[in-house]
């Protein structure tokens, strides 16, 4: 009797579940790792925001999964001369409220971007080079720049177009409430609960064709274990950033599937070379400061680089979800050089180089790094310390929360720092300029050069590259700059992070290299 009842109950349960699944077929829920701080596309230049808002709004030019520029609201663009760019706009595009998209909306957007009040990180960086906008006809617009600006198309991929009609008097709050959140994208705004969830519904009139989902719910699940649990219990159908410790379990489980792709983020080490004085937290073995700065000697830098077994870190600590790095971007990106390989692990040679540089017995240093900012950052720092002990360098590890770490690193309080860098422009030139050009923030050079590395020959190459509009010539110049910088071990690249996603069976995700999680790239498997 009891058994009969159980079977009946089970049957009922199963059929109910099946019914539920039928009704929700075109709905999907996705677990995200970081909160989205605003629905205003011009308020906070932050990766989770930029990814999320790509569902609702669109830029003139977008990036494909490999971050290559492809037409979006603009069908074509070209430089008329060194200072003038012409964009042809797509016809028959409508905003979510039915109003047509024209050049007026583009001009309005460019005017709004630098004037968003209280923006903690403005998109004005991308629009500042444009000094004049001219509307030729509703579908042709011309931008003028004061100096040759090679990254203009790339910058335009970061500026999302809002509607003039709905945006004229709208503030950030109006976007968050949905009143002004009216774009041209494949999904419409439905609900935004900060730090909790974002709900979008399909835009059936989308110019780019029909989307597979009627409704998409993004849940903010910052705790990695909770994110995995939500996937396992069927509460969400996809999660981003799968914790390393759960790879094997999910990979074995036939109900789920792992997808990954190398990202645009490199994990690297900056060595403080500001002056000839011994940098902080670097000493001889007895604890006294060294007579001069060892990091100014390229032989020492090289020794510290080849003493690290990058393959071992990628394989053991990252469970294969990292790619050993030799430059600032994986080599399918614009401006990367195929000639640069990840430095080969060679402790013998490293010891020899140290001896040549005058440190036959090595020295002591403290590796500083963030705690929980990058994938397995603490373990990576510890592994590097162990590799150094093999070449006679006594290394301690100290990791700090991001809030403390980056402030102190920018104040140059550390000699040896583990850092990460995601190249949003998708070309290596801008990374070299930010990380390795001589520090001169007024000119936008070396703004994140916490090593204060300075090499006039490199500066000249970067300068030249960043004012050469011709793509072929520019790429050659960037490659030359990269080869020069990496040959001098200007910084120590460790690996490129690999982004991971897990989907339930029946769903297929096309992974992206910019780490965005987009519902447009999630499709039913059939």
């Amino acid at each position: 009797m009891l058994r009969m009842f159980r079977i009946a109950a089970l049957f009922l349960f199963a059929s109910l579940a099946a019914l539920g699944a039928l009704g929700r077929d075109r709905e999907v829920a996705i677990g995200l790792q970081a909160p989205v701080t605003s629905i205003d596309p011009h308020y906070h230049n932050l990766s989770p925001n930029n990814g999320m808002l790509l569902h609702i709004f669109e830029p003139l030019i977008r990036r494909d999964p490999d971050m290559k520029l492809t037409p979006c609201l603009a069908t074509s663009w070209k430089a008329l001369d060194d200072l003038t760019w012409e964009f042809k706009l797509r016809r028959n595009v409508r905003f979510h409220d039915g109003s047509p998209f024209t050049a007026e909306d583009v001009a309005f957007t460019l005017k709004r971007v630098p004037n968003v009040p209280n923006s903690p990180s403005s998109f004005a960086t991308f629009t500042k080079p444009i000094v004049d906008v001219k509307i030729v006809d509703p579908y042709t617009i011309i931008f003028k720049t004061a100096t040759p600006h090679v990254l203009l198309p790339s910058d335009m991929a970061a500026v999302y177009i809002v509607s003039k009609k709905n945006g004229e008097h709208a503030a950030t709050e109006d976007y968050n409430s949905g009143k002004a959140a009216i774009g041209t994208g494949p999904y419409k705004f439905k609900e935004y609960v900060p730090n909790s969830r974002i709900v979008l519904t399909a835009n059936y009139g989308y110019w780019g064709g029909e989307q597979p989902w009627d409704q998409v719910t993004f849940k903010i699940l910052t705790n990695p274990a909770a994110r995995v649990a939500a996937l396992l219990s069927g509460d969400v159908q996809m999660i981003e950033s799968v914790p390393t410790s759960d790879f094997t379990q999910i990979a074995k489980d036939r109900r789920f599937q792992l997808t990954d792709k190398v990202s645009n983020r490199v994990i690297y080490v900056h060595l403080l070379q500001e002056s000839d004085k011994c940098p902080p937290y670097v000493t001889d073995k007895a604890g006294n400061p060294l007579p001069k700065n060892p990091f100014r000697d390229p032989r020492v830098r090289k020794a510290l680089s080849i003493a690290i077994d990058r393959d071992a870190i990628a394989k053991r600590i990252m469970e294969g979800k990292a790619v050993p790095a030799g430059q600032l971007l994986p080599d399918f990106f614009f401006g990367t050089s195929k000639k640069i390989k990840p430095p080969k692990y060679d402790p013998q040679q490293a010891k020899k180089l140290l001896a040549e540089a005058g440190y036959p017995d090595g020295f002591s240093l403290t590796i500083f790094g963030p705690n929980g900012r990058y994938i397995n950052d603490v373990k990576v720092a510890q592994a590097i310390a162990q590799f150094y002990s093999r070449i006679g360098i006594e290394a301690k590890v100290q990791t700090l929360p991001s809030s403390v770490y980056f402030t102190r690193a920018s104040k140059l309080e550390f000699g040896y720092m583990l850092l990460g860098w995601g190249t949003e422009s998708g070309e290596q030139g801008s990374s070299l300029r930010s990380l390795l050009a001589t520090h001169d923030p007024a000119k936008g050079m070396g703004v994140t050069n916490r090593a204060r590395y300075s090499n006039p020959a490199l500066d000249k190459l970067i300068d030249e590259a960043m004012s050469t509009l011709d793509d072929r010539k520019r790429e050659a110049l960037i490659q030359e700059a990269a080869e020069l910088a990496m040959g001098d071990t200007a910084l120590i690249p460790i690996h490129y992070e690999v982004s991971t996603w897990a989907t339930a069976a029946g769903y297929r995700y096309t992974p992206r290299t910019d780490q965005y999680t987009l519902a447009m790239d999630l499709r039913p498997a059939r």
């Binding site: 730090n195 910052t222 980056f406």
Partner: protein
């Protein structure tokens, strides 16, 4: 009574001012929010612009002064990250946290006190021993682990309860609550139980200790000699006498549960204030941190006041007037 309330109010204002200064200086000492907010590719003009927009370009004492003046007018400042009034962010999430905290405390009281009584009355039976052993588990198992096990069992294996979030809400007197809908209750069950576990263990231990002590007192013997039923002796005389420490602890715990349900909230992605606080600290969103702690201090002061009033109701010997009353 009224004079007492006013004196408490005066003390609270001083506590609030001192606390805001501490938090202000503390968050300032941790790091510079601009480092975390501004895109790393931004140049100097952009950094300066962001600092000016957020008021971070001025010296600390000027920033604090501005804050005090605005706070006196009821404006605790805008969040650096969300650009909405910090107090809005908190008020928006407070109902969720209060609901969770009250549910957990209620669970603790409703299950903990009866179990504690049983354990106190029959300390040597296997039931009493079993309850005490259970309470040790409640104390010693880490909250995050229990939370994950709950999710693993009830969501992943059995599929009975949703693993995260807050369910459907209905508005009750202008406040969105979820315990009135079936979906809401299902969402509330696991986080409330998870958060209740420690209070439960605490209630059991307190009640048991109180009961064991009270049961030997003369008035209990006297009541029994008078021929009162056991139910009345325990339900009225014993319980009322052991309530003072229990009420104190409930008050203290309620404050801390509201303020620091962080672990439970982040494991169950509960959209409450604990999660907001930890995110804001990580992002150095000072206005939110300061405003949140102001709200918490106010709440704690309020709860303590209620606890004091409850004392006087439970124990006629307690007079709220304090020293002057005793002098007469």
């Amino acid at each position: 009574m009224l004079a007492y309330a006013f004196r408490r109010l005066g003390q609270s204002v001083i506590v609030l001012a001192a606390m805001s200064l501490l938090v202000f200086v503390g968050v300032y000492a941790i790091g510079n929010p601009i480092e975390l907010l501004v895109n790393p590719e931004a140049d100097d003009t952009e950094r300066a612009r962001a600092a000016a927009a957020l008021g971070l370009d001025k010296p600390l004492w000027v920033q604090y002064g501005t804050f005090l003046v605005r706070a006196a007018h009821g404006d605790l400042g805008n969040s650096f990250v969300y650009n909405v009034p910090a107090i809005h962010l908190i008020v928006e999430r407070l109902p969720a946290t209060l609901e969770l905290a009250l549910a957990a405390t209620l669970l603790g009281i409703l299950i903990g006190i009866p179990l504690g009584l049983v354990a106190g009355l029959k300390p040597h039976s296997w039931v009493g021993r079993g309850i005490m052993a259970g309470s040790i588990l409640g104390f010693s198992l880490p909250t995050f682990w229990v939370g994950l096990v709950l999710i693993m069992v009830f969501s992943v294996q059995l599929g009975w309860l949703p693993p995260n979030g807050r369910g459907a809400t209905v508005t009750l007197a202008g406040i969105p609550v979820s315990f009135l809908t079936w979906d809401g209750l299902k969402h509330l069950a696991m986080p409330a139980l998870n958060l209740a576990l420690l209070r439960l263990a605490l209630m059991i231990r307190l009640t048991r200790a109180g009961t064991r002590e009270a049961i030997l007192q003369d008035y209990v013997k006297f009541a029994r000699a008078k021929g009162l039923t056991m139910r009345r002796v325990i339900g009225v005389h014993v319980l009322k006498n052991i309530m003072i420490p229990i009420v104190t602890v409930i008050g203290l715990e309620l404050g801390s549960v509201i303020a620091f349900a962080i672990v439970t909230e982040s494991i169950f992605a509960w959209p409450g204030t604990g999660k907001l606080l930890i995110d804001s600290i990580n992002q150095l969103d000072r206005p939110v941190v300061v405003a949140f702690l102001m709200v918490v201090v106010t709440l704690c002061v309020g709860i303590n006041f209620v606890v004091d009033v409850l004392y006087s109701l439970l124990d006629p010997r307690v007079r709220l007037g304090g020293a002057p009353a005793a002098a007469h």
